[in-house]
Symmetry: C2
């Protein structure tokens, strides 16, 4: 089972394991991995192939295929950019573009780099589809009205098992999980605003200076510490749920900001497609652990209070980015 | 100047830059990078070569040399393990060992793996020096008495520029910078305890199950989200200040916990030496930005409240691991 659990868990569940390789029994206090492994089937929710972005890179030097799968955010978050991304994938915009930037402990960036961008050098610019929407900066946040559909979840967030760490988010008044995504918020009542946060694996939209918000044609994935200072300053559209190692282990760019000064170093992107545009048999299927489930509550508590055998001092809290939402593949090859 | 600023800054200062490559003037509100670049010479403190661990890996596939430089922690933190590390380097213990584990978004681990370690496979075990000390778990923390020498710094931490984010550390009551290191603390008066935290680039000591605390012969470096749950559960002995990309971009291990299932994949370690054991001319010299300096106070404020041109919404706070201490090389080649 654990072998089938990916993304967050592949980092998270492993992160729970002793730094030495030897596994240990967890009789008295099951660790987060054990808790997730024991989740009943009903606690897992399907991720629609319609919400998956499948990126195929050119094979690596050893001929290994490199596929990265991104889950796009659900409504009401960032849907304007995500609509653009669906159009870009449908028109095969990214095919033949490349990964142009790999900056250690920050981001891997790919796709369009057509705007005034000296460090990016002669990156071929492709013509953008003409029907892409321009999204306002106000869309970096979501209002309470847009968020009403999640209210039940917000009540659930009053659970002490959550609050112990939510209340200490340095970047917001309140951080929680909604529909399986880490979401920060500030304000009360009608003044309340919510926004998705930047964690390891988060996918966002490159942009030019304000008021530009980016089209979605240039995307980045976080490969280092959570750059939470980007929250509400750039659109967050998804997260890598499989194959992030194909991005995070790329050679770092030696140009400004980690751009590849040598165009030869750029990694060719063979194709990027929406999951539901692939032949039925090739459509990867994933599930995430329902963030309203009892299992998730136990998981967050275990992440914040490690009592499994390797640990001697539970932290008593956790950074929301250090509570990755369990995601697992349920069909298809890795 | 910026080119000379490394480690944290190489990630941090870059992280402050727009996601697009174009740089912008920062007239009204200088960004963290600009603030650090403007620091007077007196705000920089020398890092002694005696506190540097210089690791030379085998060249990569393209023949590129790979050197990683680690700064060891100052007293009173983790000195028992660090004394062992000095002995291990003096006896050339690590020469001929290897990097045995690379787990995405977690750690790169090297050196001794001689204890019962099924996943590590047939990793050659070298005989440990016989005079290594066994360090008690109590040494994961430091008492107020041991910490007295830092009290002036603690007072300084009352500066509002610090408190805005210190008070919201999910993993401690209070987080701050001491002598250029991120330190968490809990308790008051004689009950207060302080401990170093796990951030990107942090170097720690692999261990077996409690009460084992590790000798220092097996080390790891963090290459992903800050695994703060390890604080006070494993010894933190230093941080990578140059060349972390030689660790973070290594191919991920496919075995359990990211160990290389195929021994051929392990990365040979040619040598690990103390900086002061190298010929005078080869001793790298670094400086860190004094965490009690006015420049550092401005830097932390700017990290927590981005007002430079790219940003539209300052966070109003920052994770202590997202305020990397500026370190720069002042002599020798990178």
């Amino acid at each position: 089972m654990r072998k089938k659990i990916l993304f967050a868990p592949f980092a998270a569940l492993m992160a729970l394991s002793p730094l030495l390789a030897q596994q240990s029994p967890e009789k008295a206090h099951p660790g987060p991995a054990t808790i997730v492994d024991a989740a009943p089937a009903d606690d897992w929710k399907t991720i629609s192939a319609r919400d998956l972005l499948v990126m195929n890179l050119a094979p690596d030097a050893t001929g290994q295929t490199r596929r990265v799968i991104i889950q796009l955010m659900p409504p009401p978050f960032s849907q304007g950019w995500i609509d653009n991304i669906r159009k870009l994938a449908a028109t095969k915009f990214w095919d033949g573009t490349s990964i142009n930037r790999v900056q250690d402990n920050y981001v891997v960036q790919w796709g369009d780099a057509g705007y005034d961008n000296p460090e990016s050098g002669a990156i071929a610019q492709k013509k953008l589809p003409e029907d892409l929407a321009t999204i306002p900066e106000s869309a970096y946040e979501v209002t309470v009205a847009q968020y009403d559909q999640f209210m039940e979840n917000e009540k659930r967030a009053a659970d002490p098992g959550y609050r112990q760490w939510e209340e200490r988010d340095p970047y917001s008044e309140y951080a929680q999980f909604l529909e399986g995504w880490p979401i920060a918020s500030s304000g009360d009542g009608d003044e309340a605003r919510l926004w998705p946060v930047h964690c390891y694996g988060t996918v966002g939209v490159g942009r030019n200076m304000s008021p530009d918000t980016g089209t979605g044609a240039e995307l980045y994935a976080v490969i280092g510490r959570a750059p939470r200072h980007l929250d509400r300053n750039i659109a967050v559209v998804g997260r890598v749920i499989e194959g992030i190692e194909h991005l995070s282990s790329l050679r770092r760019g030696k140009g400004q900001l980690g751009f590849y000064a040598d165009a030869e170093k750029r990694v060719p992107i063979r194709s990027i497609r929406m999951g539901d545009s692939l032949p039925e048999a090739e459509q990867p299927q994933f599930e995430y652990l329902d963030s309203m489930s009892t299992t998730f509550a136990k998981y967050t508590d275990a992440r914040a209070n490690r009592r499994d055998p390797f640990f001697i001092t539970p932290a008593g809290g956790a950074d929301i980015c250090n509570i990755p939402v369990p995601v697992r593949r349920v069909k298809g090859d890795e």
